[in-house]
Symmetry: C2
Subunit: 455 residues, 2 copies
């Protein structure tokens, strides 16, 4: 479809007919297509739409993408478009531009919009305050449902969401919420308080965004009120919450893979290198430490008969590392779901992970024993050597899996309880720590059970 | 809060007062708390609520969880509750019970509900048809906005969503959608067609669920119509789509960690073992293959001077494996976002990943060179040996990163284009394949650049 739109823009010379044809497409498809146009084509298309239409089209893209495709637009026109945007989107977009450009844009923005935007910018990133918008239907207590209907009809065109009406007192303290369904069913005369829900869910402006979107998701709330000292300051709509919930999931996913941030398709190789190198550089240093640990066992490899332990080393490291990543992923997911806000669940989780480590250690250790015996037999090893070597492999798998499970479950919970981001303990970190533990277990067992019987 | 509710249930003996107090909590909090009660307590509480109230409370839990906490309820009462549920939730719940129990429940369900449920059960799992619900406002063309308002007021109490009215012709073919905002603003007389949007987004009953929820997310659609040969069959609401989108993200996350499925907090250790062991057992076999590959180079380790290569092996495998996981995660994410439905983007992606591999290979290879030289120097190696060994390490890092990036990007795209689940190429699979490639590159270079100069 995007190819279709781009083609239309490239080939249609009659601007009037182009406009009519573009109107058959959804704004989001137009927005996506504009990302793929060159500057001249963008300029040509933008001239076709009113500022309000452009604001609407841009609302379907991330602020980052919008800042990219609006490079060709003059600051004056940009200011007019920004005035038509939702204040939260406008604030996000302005954060993407250079300080110089923002200053120039600000010259053309009226005072009301400026105030609305700067109010939103005051709230810290990743709080409910920064995600909320101020575009909702509010009514004072004491009014009748008739007044509400009048207000609704009058304000509806400009409102993003009419699903919920918020009832406040003279001090803007939120008293209750009325779903639109109840408004429609009510018959005048009927004071608004009599149909409002006084047991509404709400968050504060400084509630972490994660918690706010979790409430929207778990309680199926379409418009979540955001309060400051009980006063209604804004709402978080379910569609904005959905975008955020997806972003949060992508962040967790990226961190598990050892990326500092999710990557965009449009970004340069240089930007990607910056996102990928931190963990890998850290990993290199950690692996060097693993090398130092292994070198402590160099007496082992001086014996010809011991080189066989080199072959099995990837088994120990591979299994323990991957099992650790599994435990880590499960633990991080449960932290995100707030499962560990109850103390007894932490203990339960740790016991379960350890039990899992023991069970998986027995199963995979048993399998490893069989495989190692077969491998050594076909490799021409004498039977007298086979059993102790295979035993070292099996015991190491068992021990390293158990240690790995406990460790990968404990570390992120500790970080969380210390108010740090548990995802710092990302996949690469856990696996290298487990590498060190695994190597020590493996080579120590090899020393005790095999090397010491040979010398 | 759940502790509070559980405490109330345990300590309050006056049932009337308990009911009043429980009514102050949100249904979802009640549902969550019921999961933590024992059977006797559950029975006590369930007696307090009407079937309709229980259906409402249960609607906030997964079907799996509901089946767990309804074990104590008789089939007759369960049937009455199920009749009050949304048909899609009812169908999901019935799928959780044993065939015997379903048969007994069915005896108490009326024909209309049975038909609605069995219609939904006909659609394959993971299609839009299976997620949709049949609870929406529909109006025939030719009617006036006045008729629509009347219908709206009459049907609103029973409807899940009144955000969108669907306009159909006499054959139930969907002609357009009207957002509630426009209904409220319209003034009679006004035929419904004149305010409907004929360019609506819709999906088919057999559209994969992933694609359907992506449309809801990307286009901010509150009620997505689901069609069969153009006829309106149901809608997907944004709150249901949100739950699904989160589930999908969790599946991807689980697969990256090498889990066959996301784990639940309530499940037994045995169930978790079943979810975790497939990839690890596969990994063990793959690692045994790595052992076979390494054993082909056993002549290397027979020489005393060559044991130093054992120390550095985890660096090569660790870096290449983790870099591969990064590329894999990015590629899977882009596949999920349908970025690769355009052929030119595949090529662009592969070129970029290869460029990234080269860039990261140069950077990390350079770092590895410095670290290896330092390590060997402090380990007392002679200068004449240091450079060739460090060079092998650096070159191996460079080569294995490049190969790893290309491979981790190419494999999932190939799977996707072959209509297979790209996430089959999960973290553990990619890393072991890269392990094999890395070991071959590393030990071959060691043979050519060091071993051959020594013998």
């Amino acid at each position: 479809m995007h190819d279709e739109i781009i083609n239309l823009i490239k080939t249609t010379t009659d601007l009037n007919s182009l406009r009519i044809q573009l109107n058959n497409y959804h704004q989001r498809d137009l927005a996506e297509s504009f990302r793929l146009l060159d500057e001249d084509q963008q300029e040509k298309v933008y001239a076709l739409f009113s500022n309000e239409e452009l604001a609407d089209i841009f609302s379907y893209l991330d602020a980052e993408d919008v800042s990219e495709i609006t490079e060709t637009i003059s600051e004056e026109k940009l200011a007019s478009i920004i005035q038509e945007m939702e204040p939260d989107d406008a604030a996000d977009l302005l954060a993407e531009y250079s300080d110089d450009r923002v200053e120039m844009i600000y010259q053309f923005i009226d005072e009301d919009t400026k105030e609305e935007i700067s109010e939103l910018l005051e709230y810290e990133e990743n709080t409910a305050g920064a995600l909320m918008n101020s575009n909702y239907l509010v009514i004072e207590q004491g009014k009748d449902i008739k007044d509400l209907m009048k207000k609704l009809v009058k304000e509806a065109p400009d409102l993003e969401s009419i699903n919920t009406t918020f009832v406040v007192d003279a001090n803007n303290q939120l008293l209750g919420t009325i779903p639109l369904k109840k408004v429609i069913m009510a018959k005048a005369p009927c004071p608004v308080e009599s149909i409002m829900n006084p047991n509404f869910k709400a968050v504060n402006v400084d509630t972490p965004i994660e918690d706010a979107v979790n409430i929207v998701k778990n309680y199926d709330i379409f418009d979540l009120p955001v309060l400051e000292s009980g006063q209604l300051k804004g709402i978080i709509t379910i569609d904005d919450a959905m975008d955020t919930v997806v972003e949060e999931a992508e962040e967790d996913y990226a961190k598990l893979a050892g990326l500092t941030e999710a990557e965009e398709i449009t970004e340069s190789t240089f930007t990607s290198v910056k996102k990928r190198i931190p963990w890998l550089a850290f990993l290199l240093i950690m692996d060097l430490f693993v090398a130092v640990v292994i070198s402590q066992y160099d007496y082992l490899f001086a014996l010809d008969k011991m080189t066989v332990f080199v072959f099995f080393q990837p088994i120990i490291l591979g299994l323990a590392g991957n099992f650790g990543t599994q435990s880590l992923a499960i633990t991080i997911r449960k932290i995100t779901d707030h499962e560990f806000d109850y103390r007894h669940r932490i203990l339960k989780h740790l016991i379960k992970e350890t039990a899992l480590g023991l069970a998986m250690g027995l199963l995979l250790g048993g399998l490893a024993l069989i495989f190692a015996v077969a491998f050594l037999y076909f490799n021409g090893q004498a039977w007298v050597d086979i059993w102790p070597i295979a035993l070292v492999v099996a015991l190491s798998v068992f021990a390293s899996l158990t240690v790995s499970a406990l460790f990968a479950a404990l570390l992120p919970i500790l970080l969380y309880k210390m108010k740090m981001d548990p995802a710092v303990a990302s996949g690469p970190v856990i696996t290298t720590i487990i590498d060190v533990l695994g190597v020590v277990i493996y080579l120590s067992l090899a020393t005790v059970l095999v090397y010491n019987t040979l010398i």
